[in-house]
């Protein structure tokens, strides 16, 4: 039976995709799982895999052409199979056929697939932007309901597993959290979310001591969790909390939007003495030269920002329309200029990572960003962003907030400037950092306090440890 190759949604926000390259040609034999083509999405270049066995009989969307998500871009069928209408229209009957064959293809993965789909369904609420079960899976499930697997036993099986893990047993991506029984009990007793805890047991299993440590560390530490959880839907996961809007806040939101547009920006700038940072960077890079570590000023700023955000979770937030989502984990978006635009890879848990780790990660992500090889989970899920145009000699600028984030830092170039210190003229390395704030979330005082912390960390790194 023929299998249609659809333009699939390869990123959460993708509406159409461009075929960069077909890796299989018409007439090639393909198996389910083979990579058929590279597709450029709005964010990256992704691989499109075959969902059926047979021969790639026909390619309808050529390299360089664009097709909307859901459109048939090729056909896989048996060598001698009659494909019928050359245009392979999206008629109902042939759609069903495709679904059938996909249902068959899914049959192997059977229950697991259905379970996953169920759990997704259980966990879902108002957010629909990511991880909706692909149509094929939904179809496969529907088919299996009255098809050969039939008799309802399956859904009966799937339901309890969804129930059992629904509350505390799921990671953001629908997987089950591995935790020992006593860890689960303890977490429940202590009111700690398991998803916010990094498991130190085998395979990342959360064990008793992990929960104990999380309890000891308090709310901030509870936020630490595996990167996989980062794509959790804001506001309903364990990594964040919904803060209801007060009447005043609602009024502020409404009036400010009416005042200056969809996001009521305002801007705060600090001028930071980078003397200590320069010294520290020099020392670090000298010490770690053998290890090939080279810290940039941007890495220092990123780390400092993350630390400051951890102390000001009010700024580490999203605007949710009728609520604010305040995050317990710090995932920093780092704006990277690429050939035809801009992408913001995300450093997960940046507050918990060392500067060397951040440095390496930024370099690696930025490199792949330029090659358009980032995976969706690598450029989504930021809680706050940093943009740096210092390398272009920009002294100071304002960055546009990346919604639904509530803030972004615009980092200017570091340069030696004359400043007055205790009544005397001094020459210092200085850096201007401007924070764009979404006034619906961050008020002036709040933003200022955050920036004070940031400045303190950069100017007095030791004091920041207090």
């Amino acid at each position: 039976m023929a299998t249609k190759v659809h333009m699939e949604a390869l990123s959460p926000t993708m509406e159409e995709g461009q075929v960069v390259q077909w890796l299989k040609s018409e007439g090639d034999t393909v198996k389910s799982g083979d990579v058929l083509a590279e597709i450029e999405t709005d964010k990256a270049t992704m691989e499109l895999v075959a969902r059926g066995d047979g021969v790639l009989r026909k390619i309808t969307v050529k390299e360089g052409e664009t097709a909307p998500v859901g459109e048939v871009i090729a056909m896989i069928a048996a060598e001698d199979e009659d494909l019928g209408d050359d245009d392979a229209p999206d008629g109902d009957s042939s759609d069903d056929e495709a679904s059938d064959s996909e249902a068959d293809a899914e049959a192997d993965s059977g229950d697991a697939t259905d379970d996953d789909a169920d759990e997704e369904a259980d966990a879902g609420d108002e957010d629909e932007d990511d991880d909706a079960p692909p149509k094929a899976e939904a179809d496969a499930k529907g088919k299996s309901g009255d098809g050969t697997k039939a008799d309802g036993g399956e859904s009966a099986d799937a339901a309890p597993s969804g129930d059992g893990s629904g509350e505390e047993g799921q990671t953001g991506d629908g997987g089950r959290i591995k935790a020992s029984p006593v860890a689960r009990r303890l977490a429940k007793d202590e009111g700690v979310e398991l998803a916010g805890i990094e498991g130190s047991g085998p395979g990342g299993r959360i064990i008793k001591r992990d929960v104990e440590e999380a309890v000891k560390a308090g709310p901030a530490e509870k936020a630490a969790a595996p990167a996989a959880a980062a794509t959790a839907r804001p506001g309903d996961g364990p990594d964040s909390e919904k803060v209801p809007l007060s009447q005043m806040r609602k009024t502020i939101a409404k009036r400010l939007v009416e005042s200056i547009g969809p996001i009521p920006h305002f801007f705060l700038t600090i001028d930071v003495d980078m003397t200590r940072a320069v010294e520290a960077r020099a020392r670090i890079n000298r010490d770690l030269e053998r290890d090939g570590v080279k810290i940039s000023y941007n890495d220092i700023v990123l780390k400092a920002t993350a630390m400051a955000l951890a102390r000001h979770p009010e700024c580490n937030a999203h605007w949710g329309g009728d609520h604010v989502v305040r995050f317990h984990r710090v995932h920093l978006g780092v704006a990277v200029a690429i050939e035809d635009g801009l992408i913001t890879p995300v450093i997960r848990d940046a507050d918990r990572k060392g500067m060397a780790a951040i440095s390496a990660e930024v370099r690696e992500l930025a490199g792949r960003a330029r090659e358009k090889k980032l995976k969706p989970e690598e450029y989504t899920g930021a809680t706050f962003s940093v943009s740096n145009l210092g390398m272009f000699g920009i002294e100071q600028f304002t960055a546009v907030i990346n919604p639904p984030e509530a803030g972004i830092l615009a980092v200017g170039a570091m340069e030696e400037r004359a400043v007055v210190v205790d009544g005397e003229l001094d020459i210092q390395p200085r850096m201007k950092i401007t924070m764009s704030c979404d006034h619906r979330v961050i008020d002036g005082a709040l933003g200022s306090q955050f920036l004070q912390t940031l400045r303190r960390i950069l100017e007095e790194p030791l004091a920041a440890l207090v």
Binding site: A183, R185, I207
Partner: protein, 330 residues
């Protein structure tokens, strides 16, 4: 307190109970004139005469069944198996007769008796003489199973077993007979350890090594080594497998959240299988790790010394199991 051997402790228990109750007699191969194959019954023939200390022919099924018959009419036989390996010949009498008599007679006829002897491996006795027989006995309702590890336990539990009104399989250890330990002095009164009470042989907070019989000593050695690594282990000696001190098992697991079951027998359907089942059933929410079992290798006991060594549960294997359960690399 006096320091005596496990063998002497058993001997004391036998003598005291025979002295106390004329319905108690000892029968088995070599128990009388030979003083016992392992000298457990040394001197008893002289003390009690051939009426009560009876050398049997090598007829395990026969003299075990004779004991059952005698118990049916009110005597309290102690049937000694030279080793429990040979008791396999007698299992029909133990399991089909003794264990079921009370039930199938609707409560009319009980079998107050003790089957005793060493179980498990000694040294290089190879396949047929080196097996842990606990599981075949403990499997059947109607029988009780006792596995003492120390001289004091041997004495106190044997006395309790002889006085118990049900058939008791009292399983000793050949390698334990020379073990010395403190045992309350007979002059200080009757020393009885009730069945169904486990004994925490060592206290720790990180992991529970649960075991019975001879393996208690392997567990204690493993615990000592772990201690040097900063790991403190509870070593729980079950002492009796049926009745089983479930409360003690749950208590140690609730304390440490981690358990290893150590036994001399084979893994499939071993004693540990039951213990693990109980733990997961009744202390599931207290577990921080899967419960791991250490058993004999799943092979008949080989003769060659090196092979025997690796077939038996060892201190190293217990430590490895503990590390696994503790999620430690070692």
């Amino acid at each position: 307190m006096a320091v005596i051997t496990y063998r002497e402790a058993l001997n004391q228990a036998l003598a005291e109970e025979m002295e106390r109750d004329d319905s108690v007699f000892l029968m088995g191969e070599e128990v009388a004139e030979y003083d016992g194959a392992y000298k457990v019954s040394k001197g008893l023939l002289d003390q009690f005469g051939e009426r009560r200390v009876v050398d049997s022919p090598i007829s395990e099924l026969g003299f075990a069944g004779l004991g059952v018959g005698a118990a049916m009419v009110g005597l309290r036989p102690i049937i000694e198996f030279m080793t429990f390996n040979f008791s396999i010949l007698a299992l029909d009498q133990v399991l089909n007769s003794a264990a079921k008599m009370l039930y199938m007679s609707g409560g009319q006829i009980s079998c107050p008796m003790v089957f005793r002897g060493p179980t498990g491996a000694a040294l290089q006795l190879s396949a047929q003489h080196s097996q842990a027989c606990e599981i075949w006995y403990v499997h059947a309702p109607g029988i009780k199973v006792v596995t003492p590890a120390t001289p004091a336990d041997a004495k106190g539990l044997l006395k309790a077993s002889i006085r118990d009104n049900d058939p008791v399989a009292f399983m000793e250890g050949e390698l334990l007979y020379n073990l010395k330990g403190e045992v309350p002095d007979p002059d200080d009164g009757d020393f009885i350890i009730p069945l169904g009470v486990a004994d925490l042989k060592r206290e720790g907070e990180h992991i529970s090594i649960i075991t019975h019989g001879k393996m208690v000593h392997v567990a204690l050695q493993a615990a000592s080594k772990l201690e040097k690594d900063g790991i403190e282990a509870d070593v729980l000696d079950l002492r009796t497998l049926r009745p089983l001190d479930v409360d003690a098992i749950l208590a140690t697991v609730r304390k440490t959240n981690r358990a290893v079951y150590l036994e001399e027998g084979w893994p499939w359907g071993g004693v540990g299988s039951q213990i693990v089942s109980i733990i997961q059933d009744e202390a599931f929410d207290d577990l921080d790790a899967p419960v791991v079992r250490v058993t004999q290798a799943d092979v008949p006991m080989p003769y060659a010394k090196n092979l025997e060594q690796i077939a038996k549960p060892s201190v190293d294997r217990v430590i490895a199991a503990c590390n696994r359960v503790l999620y430690r690399n070692s």
